[in-house]
Structure formats: C-alpha cells, structure tokens
C-alpha cells in the first residue's frame, strides 16, 4: 500500500517504546550487572557499577562451582524422564482424539483441564497426591500390593514426582498441538496404503509418524526450552529439596537474586541459562534434517 514511511510510526510507537524500556534496556542492564557484585540495595548508577565491577568473576565462580553442574544434572535428569513420557502421553491423546469417535469433544475438554490449572494450584494438588502416607497415589499402589516411595521427601524420588506432575499438566497442551498436526495429514495417503493392503501399524510408522514430525519437532523445541525454565512446580512442591536434590537453574536465579540479594551473581546465572537454551535450540535445528520430514 502506498503511504509515507512515517505514517506508520504512530502504530508502532507503543510497542517500540515497550521494546526499549521493557526488553532492550533490561537486556543491557542484565549484561552490565552480570559483571558486578551489586547487592540490589545500593542505588544503581555509573559510580556504583564502577565500584562494584568484578569482571568475569561471577561467571568463573559459577562455572567452577560444583553446584552449577549439580543443578544442570538435575535438569538433565528431569528431561530424560519427562520428554519421553510427555511425548508418548500427548501422542496417545492426539491419536485418540484424531479418531473422531463419539465423545471426542468431551474427552478433549477433560484432557485440557490440567493445562488450564495454574501451576500453583497444580503443584499444591500434586504435593498432596504424592504424600507418602496420606496421598492417593501410594494408597492406590498399596491396593495392588506395592509400597510406594516417599516421593517428594526422598532425594531419589522427588524429581520423578515433579516429572509426574509436569507430564500430567502438559500432556493435554502438547496433545492438542500434535492433534492439529495429525488432522493436517492428507487422507489420500491412508487410502492409497489401504488399497496396497497395509496394516494399521505399518500405516502409523510409515505415514502418520513421518508426516507429524514437523509438529513433533516444534513440541520438542518448546518442551526443552520449558524444561530449562522449570520453576513454579519445584518452588512449591520441594523448594529445591530434599537436601538440594531438585535444585534447578531458575530456582537458583530466584534464590540468589531475591533471597540472598546477589543480583550480579544471579544475572550471570541467567545469561548462562540463555546460552544453554540457545545452543540446544541451534543443535536441534541442525539435527532436524536427520529425522524431520517436510512435505514438499
């Protein structure tokens, strides 16, 4: 459309101002802070920054600390348990809903209720569901003769407990997402396969799975990014415990920043988080050629 370049400025102005004040400026401050040991209390100005400048000390001490690597280890533990479970469960949901049988609308709503529940409520519910003596899970397990673990109060079982809660909460979200991928598959493929006498399993592995890989790829990227930003469920269910067994990156950033007021240290932590997410996403994009099929 023909118009002077400058006539578009009023439409962009709120958003641009917002970007400068709420995103670019904070990013710049975050970079500067990560090189200081600012305590959050001294008035933040150039003199303070000059006086409290520490160079790469924060980064070096984080990377050199055993804690950082433990925290990363916990996140990896979470991901190894969470990803396969969440993807299987949401794929199951998507396949069920894709059949289009009677009752689909009802099941769709049911599976989405956990997604609508806030993490605070969901975490409180699961904390009680996983209670070792009075929780419903261990009592259900007892019915079939299994003695359930102590879940959140056991260093070994606390993370699997958090994983269960997370899979339960997220599977509807990724399920509906995958469903949209499934419904987009051209039905002529199935018809052709049927004519050739292909069985159900063959059709699933040769048609459905390859053609849904772009959506699956997107779900993987999103869930990996989210996994590294794990926070409310940990904060409410275990507060990083027992004995630090469920400490994760964002929980550390929050604790260092707002409990210990080591704002510079926490900022450096957050940039390392960014680096990890950034590199992982890049790697995934590079790897996608190996397994993601785009219809040409």
């Amino acid at each position: 459309m023909k118009q002077s370049k400058w006539k578009s400025i009023p439409f962009l102005l709120p958003s641009l101002l917002g970007m400068v004040v709420l995103s670019l400026l904070p990013i710049a401050i975050a970079i500067v802070l990560s090189f200081t040991d600012w305590n959050g209390l001294d008035k933040l100005n150039l003199t303070t920054i000059r006086n409290e400048f520490v160079g790469f000390k924060n980064y070096i001490s984080i990377l050199g600390s055993a804690e950082f690597w433990q925290v990363l280890g916990h996140t990896v533990y979470y991901i190894v348990l969470y990803l396969p479970l969440a993807m299987l469960a949401s794929m199951g949901i998507a396949l069920l809903l894709n059949k289009g049988r009677k009752g689909t609308a009802f099941f769709r709503v049911i599976y989405y209720i956990p997604v609508l529940t806030s993490w605070v409520a969901a975490s409180l519910i699961w904390k009680w569901v996983l209670s070792s003596k009075y929780g419903i899970i261990n009592n259900l397990l007892a019915l079939v003769g299994i003695t359930g673990p102590a879940w959140l109060s056991s260093p070994v079982w606390a993370m699997p407990g958090i994983v269960l809660a997370s899979v339960w909460k997220d599977m509807g979200f990724y399920g509906l997402f995958l469903l949209s991928g499934l419904t987009a598959i051209n039905t002529t493929y199935y018809e052709a396969a049927k004519v050739d006498g292909a069985g159900k399993l063959t059709m699933f592995f040769k048609i459905t799975l390859p053609l849904v890989t772009p959506t699956l790829f997107f779900c993987l990227i999103m869930s990996l990014i989210n996994a590294f930003q794990l926070f409310p469920q940990v904060q409410i269910m275990t507060e990083g415990g027992p004995n630090g067994a469920t400490r994760v990156v964002v929980e550390r950033i929050y604790t260092y920043g707002f409990s210990y007021f080591k704002m510079g240290f926490a900022s450096a932590y957050s940039w390392l988080l960014f680096l990890i997410i950034f590199i992982l996403t890049l790697v995934q994009f590079k790897l996608q050629n190996g397994w993601v099929h785009y219809e040409s």
């Binding site: 917002g18 970007m19 806030s118 605070v120 409520a121 409310p232 988080l273």
Partner: protein, 277 residues
C-alpha cells in the same frame, strides 16, 4: 476374525483407553475435591478416607477467613483483563504496521523483535525489577500489567496472520479516502478475529496463571493475585491440605468458565473471519 468383530474391538479399545486416560487426568482433581470437604482431623486418618465420612464446607469458609480471597479473585480478573487488552491493542497496531505499511528500517526492526524472543524472561527479571523500582511501580497493579505493552511473540503471530489478508480491501478503502486508523480498526482488525481470539485466550491464561513475575512485584496482601494468594496460604498453613485444596478448587473455576465460553466464541469467530479470496 471377521470385519465386524475387528470393528467392535477397535471401538471398545478406543473407549477403554480414553476412559483410562480420563481417570489418570481426573484422579488428582478427585483427591482435591475429596480433601477439600474433609475436616482437619480427617486428613490424617488412616486408613485414608477415599470419600470423606463427614463432608463439610468448613475448609471453604476458612479460605475466605484466612485470606482476602474474594479480593484476590477480583485482582486476578482485573489484571488479566487489562493485560490481555493491552497486549492485543499494542501488538495488533505494531503487526498492522509491519504487515501492511511502509516502515523505516523495517527489516532491522522486525529482526530485533524476533531476537528479543530468544532471551528467556529470567534474564530480564532483575533489571525489570530495578526499572519498576525506579518508576516507583513496585507493589502496584501497573507493574504486573505494564509488560503487556511489549510482547514480541504476540506481534510475530499477528504479523504472520495479517500478511495473509489480501491488500485489495485496504486499497479500495484508501481510494475512497479512508485514513490508516480507519483501515486498521474497521478492516484489518475484524478480518483478524480468529487469530486475535485465540491470542486473547492464551494471553489471558498466561496472565491468570503467571507466578514468578507477580511474586517478585507484589507483596501487599490486598493486591495479590489468586496464584499468589494460594502461594501465601501454602506458606502459612502448609499442612492444612483441606484449606489448600479448597483454595485450589476455587482458583480453577473462573479460568475454566472463561475458557469454555471463549472456545465457543472462537468457533463463531472462525466462521465470521472467513474471507473469500
């Protein structure tokens, strides 16, 4: 096996698995409901009472006695409504400019938007706190709502959508002498209804369920959102699960109502927004 037999097994299998999945999803909610109807003594009874032996609403009463929960509900509604409205308004205006107008340094600006999407919110958490502090907005509703002005993802989503709207409509209107403001509000916005509807729902949900940012910003009990109210109940009465479960249940009702109402609307919106090309 004959064809009919196969079909019956297929149908039965579908409902069996769906029912199993439904049970898995609902068990925690069942436990929440059951617990919220118990007295404190019944919580720790062994063997556990699957269904409360003496059900009562005492826990619900306590939720409102121990915390200004009604107030928190109004805070959550108000914050989420404003947050969503501002997101939609600011993002749709910017998206209109990017998708349909000539903008100085368009490519550079738009790449900047995309780039900011890669920075996790945790990075800007502390600096944003500092900025809000300088603006004297800490512990105000404004501090929780203001970030809605810039949501790169919302802009990106709407740009993608508005690009698919044919230019003919606008050019015809422009020939008739319509101002850009008119074109934005009367042509582009109505034609983007489906995208705006789904963006509104997800934005509302995000704001409603947000935890970390309000936690950092709000400390006055009177200003707290529902998620913070629950969190604060949890901090004070960690073992009173009947009260915590009652609070959780109350906090879920509004968002479920909004979602069901809005998803009905969204279907209508999809039809209304359908344009012939």
């Amino acid at each position: 096996m004959n064809h009919k037999g196969k079909k019956i097994i297929d149908v039965a299998g579908f409902y069996l698995v769906s029912a199993l999945m439904t049970i898995i999803v609902l068990i925690p909610f069942f436990w929440m409901l059951s617990t919220s109807l118990k007295s404190k003594g019944a919580l720790m009874a062994l063997p556990i009472q699957w269904i409360p032996e003496e059900p009562g609403l005492k826990a619900y009463q306590q939720v409102f006695e121990r915390f200004p929960f009604v107030r928190a509900m109004f805070n959550s509604v108000g914050i989420s409504v404003f947050y969503t409205a501002i997101t939609i308004l600011s993002a749709s205006m910017a998206a209109f400019a990017f998708a349909k107008l000539a903008v100085p340094c368009k490519k550079v600006l738009f790449s900047l938007y995309i780039a900011t999407m890669m920075i996790p919110t945790q990075v800007t958490l502390i600096p944003l706190f500092v900025i809000m502090n300088r603006l004297e907005l800490v512990d105000t509703y404004g501090s929780v709502i203001l970030p809605a002005v810039f949501r790169a993802f919302a802009v990106f989503l709407l740009v993608q959508n508005m690009k698919s709207i044919p230019n003919d409509f606008m050019e015809a209107a422009q020939m008739d002498g319509a101002k850009l403001g008119y074109i934005y509000w009367r042509i582009i916005m109505p034609l983007s209804t489906p995208a705006i509807a789904s963006l509104s729902i997800t934005t509302f949900m995000e704001s409603w369920n947000d935890y970390l940012w309000p936690l950092v910003m709000l400390s006055d009990k009177k200003k707290m959102t529902l998620t913070l109210a629950l969190n604060s109940l949890n901090g004070q009465y960690t073992t009173d699960y009947n009260v915590l479960m009652a609070g959780s249940l109350i906090s879920m009702i509004p968002i479920i109502l909004v979602y069901t109402a809005a998803s009905g609307k969204m279907k209508n919106g999809l039809m209304a927004g359908g344009i012939k090309q």
